[in-house]
């Protein structure tokens, strides 16, 4: 589904190489986790996949179901089925959450040549999916993420994911800033979306999120590369011994 080959990325503004040859393939229905120390390039990878400006791909390719993603605008990547749950969801004063969700859903439908969803159907769908994430009517009415707590912002990301029904979901440190209960709620939201046709890439510092969202494959990223790949046991190893052992082992 998502195929990253030999991806090299540098910052546009300065001559700083962040990703130095990332290879990764996520199959449909699978959950891959990327773990790694600070500054290893995890968040950069998620931004480059979603199409944020400021980065330059110097080598390599990224495809989603065989389609080249790197040439596409962010909105086209979204319409093609890619979704990034932000580490720091952006506050958008003046734009109501509901308006935002409906605009996004309909823009993607339009881009794919589908009919827009009716107001009534949309409302029904939002209410149902918001309820599962304990998002109340007030949060739906308020401007996007403005005045939301850390937990509310992350739940709002998952609600967007649930509404947009992407093929490939990237979660960038979705556990950061969450207490145990909030993490459980978010993980339940993600698990509810797990399906045969959908791939997940879960980026995290810590193993604890992976207790709730059980990965099929775990990658360790360091210095812009994936240095080790294994099963769920790899996450446990990190939890017990930290990254030092793995880094030493590879070096």
């Amino acid at each position: 589904m998502l195929e990253i080959k030999n991806l090299h990325v540098k910052l546009e503004e300065e001559n700083k190489q962040i990703l130095k040859g990332v290879d990764l393939t996520v199959e449909p229905g699978k959950v891959h986790a990327i773990m790694g120390p600070n500054g290893s390039g995890k968040s950069t990878l998620s931004y480059v996949l979603a199409g944020r400006g400021g980065y330059e791909v110097t080598e390599g390719s990224v495809t989603l179901d065989g389609v080249d993603l790197l040439d596409m605008e962010p909105e086209a990547r979204a319409a093609a089925g890619l979704f990034l749950a932000f580490q720091y969801p952006v506050e958008i004063p003046g734009v109501g959450n509901m308006t935002f969700l409906r605009t996004a859903v309909n823009a993607q439908r339009k881009a794919r040549g589908e009919e827009e969803i009716s107001a009534a159907d949309f409302l029904k769908l939002v209410r149902e999916r918001a309820k599962a994430l304990k998002i109340d009517a007030d949060m739906l009415k308020r401007p996007v993420n403005v005045g939301f707590s850390g937990g509310e912002k992350k739940r709002n990301e998952i609600l967007q994911m649930a509404m947009l029904e992407p093929k490939m979901c990237i979660l960038d440190e979705t556990d950061s800033g969450l207490d145990v209960d909030a993490m459980k709620l978010v993980a339940d939201g993600v698990n509810a979306l797990r399906s045969e046709g959908r791939g997940f890439l879960v980026i995290t510092h810590y193993q604890r999120l992976l207790d709730h969202i059980k990965p099929d494959v775990v990658h360790i990223m360091a210095a812009g590369r994936i240095i080790k790949t294994g099963g769920p046991e790899l996450a446990l190893e990190v939890e017990t011994n930290g990254y030092a052992d793995i880094l030493n082992e590879v070096a």
Binding site: E75, A78, V90, I92, G94, F100, T103, A104, Q108
Partner: protein, 426 residues
């Protein structure tokens, strides 16, 4: 002091083509206004108060011709139940207007008052304008008081059920309109005044508003979309004890607009809110000049101005809060913000506070910036195309100013228009 020769010449050149309406109870006010004007002269480029806006096209003898805009949609406020009063190129059109009788309000034409010996408007006409000439001269307003032959005298005695809607239609490419309204809100009375339309190729309008104790006036204005039109407007408002004045102006298009608001809080516990939003595209110059004087205890004033500028458009904001000695417990707030959609557009702001009382809370802020890149990427990452995302963020920026309108039917009407106008460009 005698005027410098270029100023004198420019002033006399402008006056040469005008005729003073004669007789009636407003004649003394006109003569005095003319004397005031001759003493100060019309504005020139080097005048401090005009340093951001070139007055040339507003003071030259004739209007620069402006083609009439072919409107392809129903006029603003069309869906609102209102008393419609129509002016065509600055002249009252009774045939196109509703019957002026409405419970809770008395409406007369200035042109009719001119023929009478006595009328309540005499106590306001030119009086508030004259008060507003210090400390800063406003010569275009004095010119208007002297020469405007038409306009309305509106006396609000109760709470009229419908807004009074002044509709300014532009028909002649060379029309040069002078319009002068006088509004008196009696104690405890309350009304809403709506204004919309371009009015003329060049429009000079003065509105003098006297709000008595406990009176309330809402004012919502949408300046017409005709792009080539030019306008200089003044609103002089005096507020009594516990009175309320809330004014909002939306400007989309117009090659040159200068909107001045001169507000004087003379009674305790009065409230004045002045707000505006504009969208400028290309050859567009928009100037909001506001002067609020706190002259009583415990009054609140609020200025909120938002400008969206693109393709080289220029926005100007000159806003001042003057707190007089003794005006304790003043609460003054002022914010002006510009969203620059490209590097060619420009926002010029001069926020000022002058405070002579020691127990007041006054704040001001002014910002200009580009669209928020993080917000834009966030929206695009959810599938919203760049243009649509930009429009959404632009509307959100303007919505904060539109929020100042108390009647949500009116603000929603304007917001819906803006959505359409933004997506279409000019």
């Amino acid at each position: 002091m005698a005027l410098a020769e270029p100023k004198l010449d420019a002033t006399e050149a402008r006056l040469a083509g005008l005729t003073l309406p004669e007789g009636g109870c407003l004649a003394p006010a006109r003569t005095e206004a003319l004397a005031r004007l001759r003493a100060m002269g019309l504005p020139q480029r080097r005048d401090e108060y005009w340093k951001f806006t070139r007055p040339d096209t507003l003071i030259q003898p004739g209007a620069i011709p402006a083609p009439v805009f072919a409107n392809d949609e129903g006029p603003v406020f069309d869906a609102i139940d209102r008393l419609r009063i129509v002016f065509v190129d600055g002249v009252f059109d009774p045939a196109a207007s509703d019957d002026l009788r409405l419970e809770g309000v008395e409406i007369d034409r200035i042109a009719d008052i001119c023929g009478r010996d006595i009328h309540w408007a005499r106590d306001i006409y030119g009086v508030l304008e004259a008060r507003g000439q210090t400390p800063v001269p406003r010569p275009l307003a004095a010119l208007n008081t002297a020469y405007a032959g038409d306009g309305l005298a509106i006396r609000v005695t109760g709470k009229p059920a419908r807004p009074i809607s002044l509709i300014y239609i532009h028909k002649s490419e060379t029309s040069d309109a002078l319009l002068h309204h006088v509004i008196r809100v009696e104690p405890g009375a309350e009304a809403t005044i709506l204004e919309n339309g371009p009015a003329a190729a060049r429009f000079n309008k003065v509105t003098e508003i006297d709000i008595a104790d406990g009176g309330t006036l809402h004012h919502v204005r949408a300046q017409g979309r005709d792009h080539q039109r030019r306008a200089a407007t003044h609103m002089f408002t005096r507020l009594g004890t516990e009175s309320v004045y809330k004014s909002f102006t939306l400007t989309v298009n117009g090659v040159m607009t200068r909107n001045e608001q001169v507000v004087e809080l003379t009674g305790d516990d009065a409230v004045a809110h002045v707000a505006g939003a504009c969208v400028g595209d290309g050859d567009f110059h928009h100037d909001d000049t506001v002067f609020i004087t706190h002259g009583a205890l415990n009054c609140e004033s609020r200025q909120v101005f938002k400008k969206v500028l693109r393709n080289g458009a220029v926005g100007v904001f000159q806003g001042k809060i003057l707190v007089k000695p003794g005006a304790q417990k003043t609460d003054g707030y002022q914010i002006s913000q510009a969203l620059l959609l490209d590097g060619d557009s420009q926002f010029l702001a001069k926020p000022e506070l002058e405070i002579y009382a020691d127990d007041v809370a006054c704040s001001h802020g002014s910002t200009s910036g580009a669209i928020d890149e993080d917000g834009l990427f966030y929206l695009r990452s959810r599938g919203v195309p760049e243009q649509e995302a930009t429009d959404l963020l632009t509307l959100a920026f303007l919505a904060e100013a539109l929020d100042e309108i108390e009647d949500k039917t009116l603000s929603e009407d304007l917001l819906a228009r803006l959505t359409g106008w933004l997506s279409r460009r000019r």
